[in-house]
């Protein structure tokens, strides 16, 4: 790994105003249990015919990807890696509902084709005609961090110089209801996530932040998490108290399987503007079983 891994650009579509950082000065507050994302104007990214054929989650992915490509000037990323908890939920549900309500006789292929989790990463690749490394992670609340870890290692092994790394999840009314039935939301705002990052092995002209390390842990108790943090601190030539964990932005962006992408996005935006400490540790503890650590530093 040459100089490190840098976030050169980031973009989001969420319950806050899309493809901008209005949320920083004028956050929208919600008093509802479930809110879908505010859609961007997709006409600047997709022609109407293509747009009609794509579900919302795919349109958002194209829009956030194209935005970070434009702002970084990197038009041919050497990897496309997506994390998504539930993938293209809307099309999956369409096929599933048709199957269980109407039976096996008259099903249509389109919804099946777009139901696999990797539809998002492959749609981006087809759209960009990008033959590069392409992968998709679906590991619950650390799906995004799994994608980030893969990208980080591709850089470390010197295989790539740039990567689109993304977190995408949509939430449909029926699935909100189903998860609500089993108490999944715990009173948090259920929402949707589309975040793209352009990572690069050099800082470029206007880097947002540098990614120092990514760690995932399973069934880790408090002591194990602390020891993993300390190991990284030591390896980076720092001590534990150098690393600050900022307040979560989930109250603003909502809860999705890939909300940690919002946390990294918000930390990077604030870091670029000097609104946050120089060394940030993002910790995600998902339902007591999966833990992720992301170490970010100012460039």
């Amino acid at each position: 790994m040459g100089n490190g891994v840098y976030i050169q650009a980031a973009a989001q579509i969420s319950v806050q105003n899309p493809l901008c950082d209005d949320w920083l000065d004028n956050p929208i507050q919600y008093q509802v249990p479930y809110q879908r994302a505010i859609e961007a104007d997709y006409r600047q990214f997709l022609d109407p015919v293509a747009s009609r054929r794509m579900g919302r989650i795919l349109k958002r992915a194209i829009a956030t990807s194209m935005t970070v490509m434009a702002s970084s000037g990197i038009t041919n990323p050497e990897a496309i890696i997506v994390g998504t908890g539930l993938g293209c939920l809307e099309t999956t549900e369409k096929f599933l509902l048709a199957l269980v309500q109407e039976g096996e006789e008259f099903l249509q292929p389109t919804n099946f084709i777009n139901s696999t989790h990797n539809t998002i990463a492959s749609h981006i690749a087809v759209h960009l005609k990008c033959n590069a490394y392409n992968s998709t992670y679906v590991h619950l609340g650390v799906s995004f961090e799994s994608a980030l870890l893969d990208a980080f290692m591709q850089f470390q092994l010197g295989r790539i110089h740039s990567a689109l790394v993304e977190g995408h999840d949509e939430m449909i009314p029926n699935y909100f209801y189903i998860l609500d039935k089993v108490g999944y939301w715990e009173g948090k705002l259920a929402s949707e996530c589309a975040v793209s990052f352009m990572l690069c092995d050099e800082p470029g002209n206007n880097p947002m932040a540098r990614i120092r390390e990514v760690v995932l842990l399973h069934n880790a108790h408090e002591k194990r998490v602390e020891s993993a943090i300390n190991q990284v601190c030591e390896r980076l030539g720092t001590v534990r108290k150098d690393w600050i964990t900022p307040p979560s932005v989930r109250p603003l962006f909502g809860e999705t399987f890939t909300s940690q992408a919002f946390e990294m996005y918000a930390a990077a935006v604030k870091m670029q503007r000097g609104l946050i400490a120089d060394n940030i540790l993002l910790v995600n503890q998902y339902r007591g079983t999966e833990t992720s650590l992301i170490f970010l530093s100012k460039c």
Partner: protein, 398 residues
Amino acid sequence: MKVYVTGFGIISALGSGAGPTLHALVNRQSGIGPLRWLETMHSHLPCAEVPFSTRKLRDMAGVAQDKIITRTALMGILALREALEMALWNEHKPLNPVLISGTTVGGMENSERFFLDFLSPDTSHDQYILAHDCGVCTQMIADHAGHFDMLSTLSTACSSAANALLLAADMIRTGRTSVAVAGGSECLSRFHLNGFNTLKILDKDPCRPFDNTRAGLNLGEGAAYLVLESEESAKARGVKPLCLLSGYGNACDAYHQTASSPEGDGAVLSMTKALKEAGLTPGQIDYVNAHGTGTTNNDESEGKALMRVFGADSVPPVSSTKAFTGHTTSAAGSVESVISILALLNNFLPANLNYSNPMEMLSFRPVTNEKLSRPMSHVMTNSFGFGGNDTTCIFSKI
């Protein structure tokens, strides 16, 4: 840094375990036949089901009949257990091991049964709601087997398990762990049987990969896991490395969501990357276990890609073993990696069953001859998924 294979486990229509799998491969016994367990109106379609009921799989895996679990997880547990035993896991426990698993169907087998109940005030099947997730499937497999320090779940459709191997190998190469187990598991579901059926790519007869009369694939189910390990760890644990995962490559065809490019561009890239990473020339590959689904599109595209990578006149022995196991979708990458390793270690070429008519556009014919025994040093296996997620792995003798 070298990445060794120190254990592997497999379950498929050929049976549970490497022994029955090898026996079926050598004796040309296909696992494809009429459906026994999956309830569907498409029961005329031949499939390759794992030959045990879910109840029986619970007994075999030692999982209580009332515990919430999926068939996918049960198959995963059995394949993982065999892999760990082979790698002397319990005798010499590795430090901070990792499990990376590939699946796409996840808990769909229950969701497709209970979805309308989920949507109603009826709560009697709500315990299956969280089990829908692909990641929960990995947790079920991992937690039954014992302690894993990190888990992740890959889903690149039919190359999921192959890409799980890639992530696991990279975790060793970057020094994040010294032992990483990877593979995939997938049971048949009405959801994806019907999905493939709407695409009109399921053959009503046993599939005929690379045959001019091929008319589609047969779905299968199964699971396989490989224990990947650094040399240092294998030495310290006193376990004998079986072979090397010497190279691997991932590329995207970036052509179409369900069709491969006519000339197999993504496949050429994934094979070329794998060869480069292994430091091998095409001429050094002794056998290619093709993705070879038996669809018109795949076999033509992959066949042309093989000719481009190896040269039209020097394509090594190639076979698709999907006429044995069916297409085990997300598990195919690890199922066929284990089959390739069995071929490598036992010096035999698995046959391409049901082949008789050459394809006009291909310069080579798949392996069909009766004399299948030959010394082998390097074997390659291809796994391609919807969305053009193409991945190639190369295994080498030590």
